[in-house]
């Protein structure tokens, strides 16, 4: 019998190890697996290569991982968090900056058996030609630069060769799931979540609603079960806006 539903977040995230590469879904606060992130912080997992769109918002989620110095390297499109930039400019964390569509496609490719792909995105820019500081030294000067990438002209357009991402683990958030690992997302909380799961060796999902006795309708599934190793039902972490609204009601 297949039952991927874990008893709690600790059991669901037991596979995550220090040193792992970890793809984390979410954009803004929508679709961030806050409960799973807290669980790996509680186990003192560190030295992570995090792959995500942002370096977090507010104080929790990926921002917590950064603040507690559990991140060795961040692959993202828009760090956007002052604590991350403090550590980046201070030489404490490495940055691999990637255009957003390229990040999505590198994850999709990683989960799809695609060895590499050509994209027109970033052609003629320093993200293709190399040169952006990947890491700063203690003197505040760039100590390591992102390398240039191979390019090729196809039908008169310049394309950049991009390689897939194959993280050890994905931490994702879904709206509904079943014991087969089938998942359904909601609105803009889908974002990178299914792609992160596809790319990872072990994908772990926190899910608002999962009943061991109820399965999703086959046509309602956004991400089929084989992509998902474990899921756990847990109340989504909401922004203070919603807590305040609930308190008033």
């Amino acid at each position: 019998m297949i039952n991927k539903i874990a008893a709690d977040v600790a059991e669901a995230t037991a596979a995550v190890r220090s040193g792992d590469s970890v793809a984390i879904g979410g954009f803004g606060r929508a679709g961030i697996p806050f409960n799973l992130i807290d669980a790996i912080c509680d186990r003192d997992v560190t030295d992570l290569h995090v792959i995500s769109n942002n370096a977090g918002k507010d104080d929790d989620g990926i921002a917590r991982l950064v603040r507690e110095r559990r991140v060795r390297k961040l692959t993202c499109t828009f760090p956007g968090h002052p604590e991350f930039f403090k550590q980046y400019l201070g030489g404490d964390v490495e940055l691999e900056l990637v255009p957003q569509g390229t990040l999505a496609e590198r994850l999709r490719a990683g989960g799809s058996g695609i060895a590499a792909f050509y994209t027109p995105t970033a052609a003629g820019t320093i993200l293709a030609e190399g040169g952006l500081a990947a890491r700063y030294g203690p003197d505040g000067e760039p100590a390591q630069q992102l390398p240039g990438k191979e390019t090729r002209e196809i039908d008169g357009t310049e394309y950049v060769l991009e390689y897939p991402l194959k993280p050890d683990v994905a931490l994702i958030k879904a709206d509904r799931g079943d014991r087969y690992g089938n998942l359904r997302f909601r609105l803009s909380a889908r974002n990178f979540n299914p792609l992160a799961a596809m790319a990872a060796k072990t994908a772990i999902a926190e899910v608002r609603d999962a009943d061991p006795d109820v399965v999703l309708d086959p046509d309602d599934i956004h991400l089929p079960g084989p992509f998902v190793a474990h899921l756990v039902r847990v109340a989504p972490r909401l922004d203070k806006v919603f807590a305040e609204r609930e308190a008033r009601a």
């Binding site: 828009f78 900056l97 994850l107 974002n191 792609l195």
Partner: protein, 217 residues
């Protein structure tokens, strides 16, 4: 001396060029204001690169949905006909040329249509979807102030900041004027009310043409 459009006036000027049935991505900053000025008798669907087509206004207090935010990470709303999808599909729409226009903010536009809008060296880099939008959209429109906070021109002979894309810009809207890129060269195609060509010339280091050039559609 007039400084041309104010922020709302500039947004309205851009919105006047949107057409019924278009799918459009609005970047952060000045482009966001365009949505509020779309003519009521046309239907324009706005794309948000985090996986939504058909976003509406920012959510009013009490109206927020935790699973519904825009690319600026604000809680947003959806209009009739909206769709939700993952980030890969979202950028298939972008790179695949399925949007009608991308409207972006800008730090600098070069005279051959280069755009710099993501990074001031030494600062805080963040590219988001800008590099995807400028290669994929059939119309790349830039909306920005004509000069920076220190009065330096932003429409320049060559970008000094790292570029977002080369030769990618089709049209530039500023508080002073509109430029079109015609065959890879800048052409002044419209002036803000009360602004003269000489004023534009004084605030621009790019070479541009003031005659000929059919406004690009």
């Amino acid at each position: 001396m007039t400084t041309g459009y104010d922020t709302a006036g500039l947004a309205a000027r851009v919105a006047a060029d949107l057409r019924d049935g278009w799918y459009v991505n609005l970047g952060l900053g000045m482009p966001t204001a365009v949505a509020a000025h779309v003519a009521p008798d046309i239907e324009v669907m706005f794309h948000s690169e985090n996986g939504l087509m058909g976003i509406g206004a920012v959510a009013e207090p009490g109206q927020e949905d935790p699973d519904l935010c825009d690319a600026g990470k604000h809680y947003t709303t959806l209009r009739t006909g909206a769709a939700a999808f993952d980030s890969s599909t979202s950028f298939a729409l972008v790179r695949g040329g399925h949007l009608d226009a991308a409207i972006l903010g800008g730090l600098q536009v070069g005279e051959t249509g280069d755009l710099a809008n993501w990074y001031v060296p030494g600062g805080q880099p963040g590219v988001g979807g800008a590099m995807d939008l400028v290669v994929g959209s059939p119309r790349v429109w830039v909306v920005m102030r004509h000069t920076d906070h220190a009065g330096r021109p932003k429409v320049v002979d060559a970008c000094t900041f790292p570029v977002t894309g080369r030769g990618c810009v089709d049209r530039v809207y500023t508080n002073l004027c509109v430029f079109d890129l015609v065959d890879g060269a800048l052409v002044l195609t419209d002036l803000a009310p009360g602004v003269s060509t000489d004023q534009v010339r004084a605030a621009t280091t790019a070479k541009f043409d003031t005659t000929g050039g059919t406004p690009w559609k």
